[in-house]
Symmetry: D2
Subunit: 134 residues, 4 copies
DNA sequence: TTTT
DNA sequence: TTTT
């Protein structure tokens, strides 16, 4: 009974950083600048940290660079942690499950999100009446 | 450079229908009534057809019933097809990749959507400075 | 207890059409082609009809043209109607409440969506302790 | 060319707090707990701060209470501020433009979001051919 | 009926 | 064809 979805379009503030977890999973992180569309200028920005894993992280590593415009879909996480002197801190970040280019540069592969890989027209026998395909 | 996302909350108008594709994939479909929140009454409704596959379809088959309130996330598809006498028709439907209960009945399992199954706290060595965990 | 949200990114298949309602409200409609990102080519498309009103319709009329890439946010409506010989038909369309360019051409005004027009920094007295601004 | 949208479903951790800005605008804030749907238990939660203004804030003040399940739609803001001793801090929050109940208690008014208030059926002259209403 |  |  819970739901958490974020969709953002913005530009990379730097090239992504890539690390590996202790069990070998690749993790790519980057920050996007999302301008707040206010009428008189564009001085307000949110800098939002994006985290990607595995196959999506490899895509990010290989193709995303500073300045590119991307659409990011994922979940908002509010990470809670402590400083060395025991103060509580909070870091927001998006765990992305989809990243799509919104600008064209060189040709770049589409990153297939995790989903049903079924071909629609192969699904059913033809029907020959006035009903929709399902 | 394309994106397609739909999020709906509404009630099942009937129990789901379950079929199988010619290669054995299970397909469960149902319609939800999504009321348009107009101020003076609630007479306007959109009846929206939802299609689910595989594991999600099994979940739908096992737990969704007429009248239940669900959140559905997926993609809008406008299917084009022809009647037997050659007329063009169009059927909108949502190919869901997530279905979540919004009402409580008996206890029911969470359906895990396809996603990164990584445990956050196992990811990295502890850091002992004033930096966030990544 | 209902919710209906659609977010799409796609290209205009033609220039918008503009009409007026019987009481003078301007209505601009257009269709966007939203490609389904399948791996081996890009042959599958959804053609989705978008409807805008009033101030947003004027923006659409003035700045949107065939081929432009836009992000559209709105509600899915399944309109039910009858043909002249009494057959039931159904037409899906998106009633947009936000349209944003995703490609750059000439400079074009931002269309302010209906929202809270409050300036953040004018909101409160300065606080001079360790608390966030609210 | 920027976009920022968040949709969350979760429960209020406390009753909302209500303040006023220096120019009289009412501001209601509250925190929702959004559980991460992990398979083996439900120990992980994100506590996400929600900010509402004006009419929506009044609705929040009058009807939302601790424990209620709500759907919140809005924009993610990463507020940057400084502590009294000059340290930089960051506070994430959602500026909501829609809040909807997801549980039923007593009957409660629908809060109309800012949008086009046009009645569909009053829009056009009747058409009596095989075309959809627009 | 369709966009790149 | 329709849910609360």
């Amino acid at each position: 009974m819970n739901y958490n979805k974020v969709v953002l379009v913005g530009r990379l503030t730097r090239d992504p950083e890539v690390k590996q977890t202790i069990n070998g999973t690749i993790v790519a992180t980057f920050t996007i600048a999302v301008n707040r569309s206010n009428k008189r200028g564009n001085d307000e920005v949110d800098f939002i940290r994006i985290v990607t894993f595995s196959r999506l992280a490899e895509f990010v590593q290989n193709y995303l660079t500073k300045g590119r415009l991307v659409l990011v879909e994922g979940k908002l996480r509010i990470n809670r942690w402590q400083t060395s002197d025991g103060q509580n801190r909070t870091t927001p970040e998006i765990w992305a499950d989809q990243v799509t280019f919104m600008d064209k540069k060189d040709d770049v592969p589409i990153v297939p999100e995790a989903e049903n890989e079924i071909e629609y027209d192969e699904l059913f026998d033809n029907n020959d009446n006035d009903e929709p395909p399902f």
